[in-house]
């Protein structure tokens, strides 16, 4: 059961934040309000009247609008065409582009959401696209607006713009339900906040009367350390170096352009940036999964850009991929077989071409113990493990050979607070052991908490580098948006 006995109410003219960890039931609750999921029992009321919402159309009629985390826009259409889609003015199937744009322009002005009605969606930055989504909901007379993780794709500056818009909407008497897992945002934008945990509503409190620590405690159900102790270390010799690296993305479009960076022993280099600015391609090129167009990758002093994945791994590269379900793990096989994917040929696990199952089983047992992987059994399947435990399986495998370099791409994506803490501690311990770590993340909190140095990727290029002492959310935000300091 995703949600159980959840009581939730939002008032007119308020910004109501809904927080909770992944899988706490926030999205299910909102899908019920938007008619995408039917509740097993219980009631929904709008304006004090009990209503039935069995289809998104019902929700729209009741004035409920939603902006999904992944935008539902047609990239090749203009702003106005997207907003008026399915409700175009005009008769006989003819479009009246000018009237459409005028109407959208008025709407944008009314709400103070400056946007060019004639611009194509695909040419707009993400923050602007989000405005279009909000306008789309407002055009359909939404009085209750649900924003699902709206800041996950924004730079801090864009997020602040959004908060202004949200406050403005509330001031005009609308209700905004703001779903997030970032607690600082809650304090910044919301009037009240509801906390969910494991499908239940923990509490609803006024933002004025709470704190980040209190919210975190409610969310996780126990005391959490929000900041981790990170003592500086003296970096050692150079481990990874890229020189003028250029890499093509899907479809041959250049995704990484002349990137030069270096990571040393006992150092975490953070790579910040809004998602989709070349991070995935950079990581894949270094790990050996994507060919290098131009430039060099040097690992422990030797050129490796033509080596296979296996050769790089044998030399001491480890890789924690972004997509652990399809790339980092094979969820249809056993824990044992997942743990040996990069090492099934070494003598420890292989004799005369046959797998040494006893040794593999022992390795499996020790990994479960070392990383306290709950609910996992040696030889058992992994498809039922939670995200946090799956990530521990990945860590257990990748860190087993005492790697010299760890490429960690979004290592805490989708994990709960407790697991995030564990992953962060593990990475810091690896750094202290002497590993060089390339940490790619779109979560600035994570970058700031772990990195010794930070580079920012913008449209495939390095747009600035900061030491951990200089790096602030503010400065990184400017660099992430393509600006300069």
């Amino acid at each position: 059961m995703a949600d159980d006995d959840v009581e939730f109410s939002a008032r007119e003219g308020e910004v109501h934040a809904l927080v909770g960890e992944n899988g706490a039931g926030k999205t299910t609750l909102m899908n019920i309000l938007y008619g995408l999921v039917r509740p097993d029992r219980g009631t929904i009321s709008v304006d004090g009247r009990q209503v039935q919402i069995s289809h998104p159309n019902d929700a729209i009629h009741l004035g409920i609008g939603i902006v999904h985390q992944h935008f539902q826009l047609v990239p090749s259409f203009s702003v106005a065409e997207n907003i008026m889609l399915g409700r175009e003015p005009g008769a006989l199937g003819l479009l009246r582009t000018a009237a459409e744009r005028e109407q959208v322009g008025r709407l944008a002005e009314e709400f103070g959401l400056a946007v060019d009605p004639g611009a194509r969606i695909r040419d707009l930055p993400v923050g602007m696209q989000q405005r279009v989504e909000i306008l789309k909901a407002l055009e359909r007379r939404a009085r209750i607006l649900i924003l699902d993780e709206p800041t996950s794709v924004l730079t801090p500056q864009e997020a602040r713009e959004l908060f202004k818009v949200v406050r403005g909407l509330a001031a005009s008497g609308r209700t905004v339900i703001f779903i997030t897992h970032k607690l600082l945002e809650v304090l910044e934008v919301a009037d009240r906040v509801s906390v969910m945990r494991k499908g239940r509503m923990v509490d609803t409190v006024a933002v004025r009367e709470t704190s980040v620590e209190a919210l975190a405690r409610m969310m996780v159900g126990r005391e959490v350390l929000l900041s981790i102790d990170r003592s500086p270390r003296e970096p050692g010799q150079l481990v990874l170096e890229t020189e003028n690296l250029s890499v093509a993305g899907p479809g041959g479009i250049p995704a990484v352009l002349r990137v030069s960076l270096a990571v040393r022993e006992r150092e975490i280099l953070g790579v910040a940036g809004v998602n989709g600015n070349g991070q995935a391609e950079l990581v894949e090129a270094i790990a050996g999964l994507r060919p290098v167009d131009v430039g060099r990758i040097r690992f422990l002093g030797a050129e490796v850009s033509r080596l296979s994945v296996r050769q790089r791994r044998l030399q001491g590269m480890a890789h924690i991929p972004e997509d652990r379900m399809r790339v980092g793990l094979n969820t249809s096989t056993t824990l044992d077989e997942n743990l040996i994917v990069s090492r099934y040929r070494i003598p420890q696990f292989n004799r005369l071409g046959f797998l040494r199952r006893g040794e593999i089983r022992r390795f499996s047992e020790s990994t479960i113990a070392r990383f306290s992987i709950a609910a996992a059994r040696p030889g058992g399947g992994i498809s039922t493990l939670s995200g946090g435990n799956l990530q521990k399986v990945v860590l257990g495998r990748e860190l087993a050979g005492k790697p010299r370099l760890i490429i960690a791409n979004q290592p805490t994506r989708g994990l709960d607070v407790g697991s995030i803490e564990a992953v962060h501690k593990t990475l810091l311990a690896e750094r202290d052991r002497g590993a060089a770590i390339l940490l790619v993340s779109v979560e600035l909190d994570e970058i700031l908490a772990l990195s010794d140095r930070v580079v920012v990727l913008f449209r495939g290029r390095v747009n600035g580098e900061l030491s951990s002492a200089d790096a602030t959310e503010e400065k990184l935000g400017i660099l992430m948006a393509g600006g300069s300091l």
Binding site: V309, R326, N330, T333, V341, S342, Y344, N350, F354, L355
Partner: protein
């Protein structure tokens, strides 16, 4: 055995068993059209397919012999499918393997024991190469293996027909077949007068080999990972392309072995109508047998028994057309493919059971 394993085995057996039951129920309709009692017909069918009275006259042993090539083409399909390649080339590989063995069976002179071993190894090499080719084309050129193996099947069939019609034809007056192999090349039978012999043992050994290869060797591990989760395999550094090509070669070797056993132990030559769709039936046996060697052996024996029982029991004794055997098998395949029909109901029952257990134990 853990509860987890028991559940897995149960789940794997459930679909085939339910499919067999459904197939038998629906097959009763055509039997009723012949004005015969379906239950009597089934009794007759199973008696003639699977009964064992003595080694001299056991229907089961004939069934084993008929199942032998099916087991091998089925194993061939298992190895290919577990690499994630949907190869349909068993028919062509079996024919070329059989042709190779039949030709070497009469064209060369070797001592007994050496002769069949040599012919079998050559047949396996030819079958392997004929499967390696579409594997290589897939990996290097991106040629869809479904299409290439179907085309290669036709080429093999026509090529073999050409050989036995012209250069290797034994007797111009009758249907096309190649000369009979030498006595030294024959695979011995266990019971004089029958053809149940060494071939069946080879098929069982091959099943054991496939299990060890896929689930115990590093090569098999590479192959399965590349098949089940291609992105994971690449990420981990598994040479997936090499594993795929190797898997195709092993797959072809097994089908080639099937052809050699038919040529050296059953027909003693290559002839028109050598295969009668053994490659295709092997693919079906692989799917019905949950793409596992043990499943393949069971399904192949079952298929062979139903066919044999339909022919001897129904056609000869009850005057029900033997095509009924084919109908029953086809219906069972249909019910495996349509497992949602009864699976949904089963899942609901197990879910309800689990929920009840969960509540009584106080947990969620």
């Amino acid at each position: 055995m853990t509860a987890d394993m028991r559940r897995r085995i149960f789940d794997n057996l459930l679909t085939p068993i339910l499919a067999i039951i459904c197939g038998l129920i629906v097959s009763a309709i055509p039997i009723l059209f012949t004005n015969k009692n379906p239950l009597a017909a089934y009794a007759m069918l199973f008696k003639n397919g699977f009964s064992f009275t003595s080694f001299r006259s056991a229907n089961l042993l004939v069934t084993f012999q008929l199942a032998t090539p099916l087991i091998l083409t089925g194993l061939s399909a298992v190895v290919a499918f577990r690499t994630g390649l949907f190869s349909l080339g068993m028919e062509g590989q079996l024919l070329l393997g059989g042709m190779t063995a039949a030709w070497l069976g009469y064209a060369v002179q070797l001592p007994p024991l050496i002769h069949p071993i040599f012919a079998i190894l050559a047949a396996m090499a030819v079958g392997g190469l004929y499967s390696w080719l579409p594997g290589l084309m897939r990996v290097r050129l991106g040629v869809n293996e479904i299409i290439s193996t179907i085309v290669l099947n036709n080429i093999a069939r026509l090529f073999v027909l050409y050989l036995i019609n012209y250069p290797l034809r034994a007797d111009p007056s009758t249907t096309a077949y190649s000369p009979m192999i030498r006595a030294s090349a024959r695979l011995p039978a266990f019971v004089p007068g029958s053809k149940w012999g060494v071939g069946f043992i080879l098929a069982l050994l091959a099943a054991v080999f496939v299990f060890l290869y896929l689930w115990r060797s590093a090569s098999g591990y590479e192959q399965r990972m590349a098949g089940e989760a291609p992105r994971f395999a690449r990420f981990g550094g598994i040479p997936s392309d090499r594993a795929a090509v190797r898997g195709m070669f092993v797959s072809g070797m097994l089908a080639g072995l099937g052809g050699a056993i038919q040529a050296l132990g059953v027909h003693y030559r290559m002839l028109d109508g050598f295969s009668s769709g053994l490659g295709w039936d092997g693919i079906t046996a692989a799917i019905l047998g949950q793409v596992h060697p043990l499943g393949v052996v069971i399904v192949a024996v079952f298929f062979a028994g139903v066919r044999q029982g339909a022919q001897v029991g129904l056609q000869f004794a009850m005057r029900i057309p033997r095509e009924l055997g084919g109908i029953i098998i086809s219906l069972m395949i249909l019910f495996v493919a349509a497992d949602k029909l009864y699976r949904n109901g089963m899942d609901r029952i197990t879910a309800r059971k689990r929920r009840r257990e969960g509540i009584s134990s106080g947990g969620l």
